[in-house]
């Protein structure tokens, strides 16, 4: 995890809020550093994490996790981390009997229906079990990323329903957290992506948006990070709070600064 991001979000692993849906969004840049941040953050916070990893292999996440101070292999072995490795299991699905339910069952269907098997997988992975051992702090679902489901043929309403159910079960019932990454293609004609992004934004409590700079690629500034707090528990402020920072990702840390109108100098 990046301690600088914790400072911006005003949170620590020990004092992480519960019952929240966090939306990660990227536009014209790669927002996967946010996924790695939250993965290591919640592992360090002693939460039980279900990681739906559809984009990269497990070893990739493990490698980046080690730079950030967590070992995914260890976490998986002791039961803290459950990973659905999309790249591997998408191939497995075609070599097993059709009667066995599979989280990515929609890949076998002619018209991709709903994501109920995937939700069932998440529910089984995170369901709190009453056993005598030290319980994990709270369940966390992390998805990287939801836009892949759109490109695999799932409709945006089906993805929204999946997130709705995860929110109802993980956030509301079990007081856990859900973190999901969505890409903003910026393409005005991609209506499905817009519906998914806007629909998720309405459901989210916290939105982190990583954008490329409007002026183009820059060696010293990788992008701009916008943070928006939505749906506070008490509507004390009439509007939501937002912050903007420019960031540069280094090997094990991230450097953030406030944007300024003066010519950039780091």
């Amino acid at each position: 995890m990046f301690p600088e991001l914790n400072n911006l979000l005003n949170t620590t692993p020990e004092g992480a809020e519960q019952g929240k849906l966090t939306l990660l969004c990227d536009a014209k840049t790669d927002g996967s550093f946010l996924v790695h941040h939250f993965l290591s953050f919640y592992l360090k916070a002693n939460c039980k994490v279900c990681f739906v990893a559809l984009v990269q292999s497990f070893s990739h996440y493990n490698m980046v996790g080690q730079k950030l101070g967590v070992s995914l292999t260890t976490a998986r072995e002791r039961g803290q981390l459950v990973v659905l490795e999309g790249l591997k299991s998408a191939v497995d699905i075609f070599f097993r009997p059709q009667e066995e339910p599979h989280p990515l069952q929609f890949l076998r269907e002619a018209n991709a229906g709903d994501l109920q098997p995937l939700y069932a997988f998440v529910r089984d992975a995170l369901e709190p079990v009453d056993c005598g051992e030290a319980a994990w702090r709270c369940p966390v679902l992390l998805v990287d990323d939801l836009s892949v489901l759109l490109s695999l043929g799932v409709g945006p309403v089906a993805v929204l329903d999946f997130v709705h159910y995860c929110r109802a079960t993980v956030c509301r019932e079990w007081k856990g957290n859900v973190v999901a990454l969505v890409h903003d293609s910026g393409d005005a004609e991609d209506e499905e992506s817009d519906v998914l992004l806007n629909g998720l934004s309405h459901q989210s409590h916290l939105i982190l948006r990583a954008e490329g700079l409007a002026t183009g690629f820059c060696k010293d500034v990788h992008g701009q990070l916008r943070i928006l707090w939505r749906r506070p528990l008490q509507p004390t402020t009439p509007r939501d709070r937002s912050l903007t920072y420019q960031y540069k990702i280094q090997d094990k840390s991230i450097f953030c600064c406030e944007p300024s109108s003066e010519p950039y100098s780091l």
Partner: protein, 345 residues
């Protein structure tokens, strides 16, 4: 202090006037059958936290003005007027919706939970029987005698899960309680409020729902202040558009406000004196009075002058309908021969 302008619809509306013992507090901001439309793309724009101006991109920078607070404020008003309120909750849980209401309002509020298990995915079924459509249709059977309000949170969720024509028909049936509209007693009127997220739908469904609604409230805002653009559609009258600035207090009371004065200059301009760029030049950019007059009275060469206009308006006998007015100058060589004569075509 706040203003409380009368915003109730006047006599022209088909809805009967409210009963005399109307003890609603805080004036009146009560749309009858209304739809609250959220506008603007999430999330908020960048305003404080940077000294300079940041270029605004229209797809991101419009502030997201969420409508659920206003829906809850209207629900609270209806409950305080003694009406029973039925909420079909699809997007938030019951605890979250009831949060902020005191017990007197919560006692009048019946929450029909479509949030926990709307599609019957859970193993021990917690779903409402029949799914979303039946839950919606069942609402009109549940409202007993007496005025009632039905709040749909949200119409967007229903529009995603039900076909648009069926949703529109069901909404229409919901707002007409009995089959003889002429016999509707004032006490049995049902008010239907719906929350709609505008960015999630195309113009077709939006237009269909708009045509059903008697009042449409679109939320936006500027400079930290929320505003509602209210469109009243009355039968046999022109729709009227009104803008009302408001804020919602922590206990979901609605406070109407005066329009904030727009500042024409940002504060930073006070510190930098404006410089006239036309001073200290080696050439003259200004015009004297005579020069200005000469410039204004100049006719441009291709201007449609009055002579040309007259000639065109009164075509001469035997003349072609189009004329070319050409004044040759000294260097012109007018040759009347056809240059293509030598072609053997």
């Amino acid at each position: 202090r706040h203003l409380s302008p009368r915003l109730t619809p006047s006599e022209g509306l088909a809805r009967p006037p409210p009963p005399p013992t109307d003890n609603c507090p805080n004036g009146s901001f009560r749309p009858s059958h209304g739809k609250i439309v959220e506008r603007g793309v999430v999330p908020t724009c960048v305003y404080q936290h940077s000294r300079g101006t940041i270029p605004r991109e229209p797809s991101w920078d419009s502030v997201e003005w969420e409508g659920r607070s206003l829906l809850k404020a209207l629900v609270k008003k209806s409950a305080l007027c003694g009406e029973q309120v039925h909420v079909l909750g699809c997007e938030v849980s019951e605890e979250e919706f009831r949060e902020g209401f005191d017990s007197s309002i919560n006692n009048r509020l019946v929450y029909h939970d479509l949030f926990r298990d709307p599609l019957s995915w859970s193993k021990p079924g917690k779903a409402l029987p029949g799914g979303p459509l039946e839950a919606l249709r069942a609402l009109d059977k549940r409202t007993g005698s007496g005025p009632a309000t039905i709040a749909l949170d949200s119409l967007s969720w229903l529009l995603h899960h039900l076909p648009c024509p069926i949703l529109c028909q069901t909404l229409h049936a919901l707002s007409r309680q009995d089959s003889c509209p002429g016999d509707t007693l004032p006490g049995e009127q049902v008010r239907v409020l719906g929350l709609l997220h505008e960015e999630l739908h195309g113009p077709g469904p939006l237009g269909a729902l708009s045509s059903l609604a008697q009042t449409e409230v679109t939320l936006s805002g500027t400079m930290g202040q929320a505003s509602a653009h209210i469109l009243y559609r009355r039968p046999r009258q022109r729709p009227t558009l009104q803008t009302q600035w408001f804020s919602i207090l922590p206990d979901f009371s609605l406070e109407l406000q005066v329009e904030p004065l727009l500042e024409s200059q940002p504060p930073s301009d006070l510190h930098t004196p404006s410089v006239d760029p036309t001073t200290h030049l080696t050439f003259n950019l200004h015009l004297s009075k005579k020069e200005r007059e000469a410039k204004d009275s100049l006719t441009l060469p291709f201007q449609f002058s009055s002579e040309k206009q007259q000639a065109l308006l009164r075509p001469g006998l035997g003349q072609a309908t189009s004329h070319i007015f050409y004044e040759p100058d000294a260097y012109d060589d007018l040759d009347q021969e056809d240059p293509d004569d030598d072609l053997d075509v």
